[in-house]
């Protein structure tokens, strides 16, 4: 399975050697499952590429449409007899929500509230690796179920045998952050920032969040200002700076 999708992608990119290309097409003629997989990957690539290409044009058009709409829609709800009871329920629900928010604000310190708003951990997916030791599936399951102590124990067991595994390192840092082991988390995130890799941006972002959660807003703000304009969390960093 690991190689199947790499071969399909290479085929679609025209990156197979002439011999591999011929062999792939011969297999395609007799293997319906391969043909289906090829069609699905081709469709995913086309649709996602188109979406990424359209992003800037869509945003510009959306702004124009939003501006035009203000002149032609009156922003008034339609009053219908059948909706009165629904409105009452909405009013009750809104009141309960406000009470819940007030309760949350009173009981939770501000840094923790802001941290909770910006903390969007990625899903752990270690089991994809062929031949991964058992500690990784255990870590993945524990992390995705928010058992950060359990996940950290499994990750540290794994890291003792493969200390350079970037995925395991990153997720161990997240566990430490969640368990309020700030210094340890920052040490792990620093390792990930020492050389460019798939987790560098994430590590920088979560280092900033570690300072925020610890109540050190100046350190958090200083790191947020260093996030480059094309990084994964640029927009969130700007928003968080405003919140701070």
């Amino acid at each position: 399975m690991d190689e199947l999708y790499a071969r399909i992608d290479d085929y679609l990119d025209g990156a197979l050697s002439a011999a591999d290309h011929t062999a792939f097409e011969a297999q395609l003629a007799s293997d319906a499952a391969l043909a289906t997989a090829l069609a699905q990957v081709r469709e995913a690539r086309l649709r996602l590429r188109q979406a990424w290409t359209d992003e800037a044009d869509d945003a510009a058009l959306r702004n124009t449409l939003r501006a035009a709409a203000t002149s032609y829609f009156k922003s008034q709800p339609a009053i219908r007899p059948a909706s009165i009871r629904r409105r009452l329920w909405w009013a009750i629900a809104a009141t309960l929500s406000l009470l819940a928010i007030a309760w949350w604000n009173l009981r939770t310190p501000a840094p923790e509230r802001i941290y909770a708003r910006y903390r969007h951990f990625p899903e752990a997916a270690f089991t994809l690796r062929a031949g991964a030791p058992q500690s990784l599936p255990a870590a993945e399951s524990a992390f995705n179920q928010k058992d950060y102590a359990g996940a950290l124990a499994s990750l540290q067991a794994y890291l003792s045998t493969d200390p350079a595994n970037l995925d395991a390192l990153f997720f161990s840092g997240l566990c430490q952050l969640e368990l309020r082991q700030y210094a340890a988390a920052r040490s792990v995130f620093q390792q990930l920032q020492n050389s460019p890799n798939a987790w560098s941006d994430e590590a920088r972002w979560y280092t900033a969040l570690s300072h925020l959660r610890e109540g050190n807003r100046p350190a958090c703000a200083a790191l947020l200002r260093q996030i480059p304009p094309d990084a994964a969390h640029t927009a969130e960093a700007r928003q968080l700076l405003n919140d701070l």
Partner: protein
């Protein structure tokens, strides 16, 4: 297939031209608003549906081979109608009975074009949603490798070895496809 004279509205959307877009709103917004408000919606709902329908139509019009062969108004109405029906279903209204808007002429070509536009939109949204649910690492490697650069460049940008990056990309594609197949809408949208 011949281009309908209303293609000028499509061109205004594709070029993001304010006067043409203002004309679309001045000519058609009122009727769509009446339609949405007559079917359990508000003016705000109508504004959102109108905007989303115009974005969807524009995305469809960017596709090679798109031809507007019917009046723009009929096409726009059917796309808005389909989107509003989906929204009502999403809001879990048990029985959705639509009161049609007056003043729109039923055109067969518009029905076919609107159906295909709504289908493409739904399928694009599905792929996008499944992609957004992947881990940040998977999203990054797929976006880089499907942006047209070689795997050597992708692996260099990510600080990974070539073989690991290739293996990781393969795993991420497998995950994307398996989640796609598991999505309840995947079969409905074939």
């Amino acid at each position: 297939m011949t281009h309908h004279p209303d293609t000028r509205f499509i061109e205004a959307l594709l070029r993001n031209e304010h006067p043409g877009i203002a004309e679309i709103y001045s000519r058609f917004a009122d009727r769509i608003e009446r339609f949405v408000c007559a079917n359990n919606g508000s003016s705000d709902d109508a504004r959102d549906i109108f905007q989303e329908a115009l974005l969807t139509i524009t995305r469809q019009a960017r596709r090679p081979g798109f031809v507007l062969s019917c009046p723009f108004e009929a096409y726009l109405y059917l796309v808005c109608r389909g989107k509003w029906l989906n929204e009502l279903k999403r809001r879990k209204r048990a029985a959705v009975t639509i009161e049609e808007a007056g003043g729109f002429t039923a055109v067969e070509d518009a029905g076919v074009l609107a159906d295909s536009t709504l289908f493409e939109d739904a399928r694009n949204r599905l792929f996008r949603r499944i992609f957004e649910q992947l881990s940040a690492g998977c999203r990054r490697i797929l976006q880089l490798s499907w942006s047209g650069i070689s795997m050597e460049e992708v692996s260099a940008q990510l600080g990974l070895s070539y073989s690991f990056a290739r293996k990781r990309k393969s795993e991420c594609i497998a995950l994307l496809i398996s989640r796609m197949q598991a999505a309840p809408e995947f079969t409905d949208l074939k």
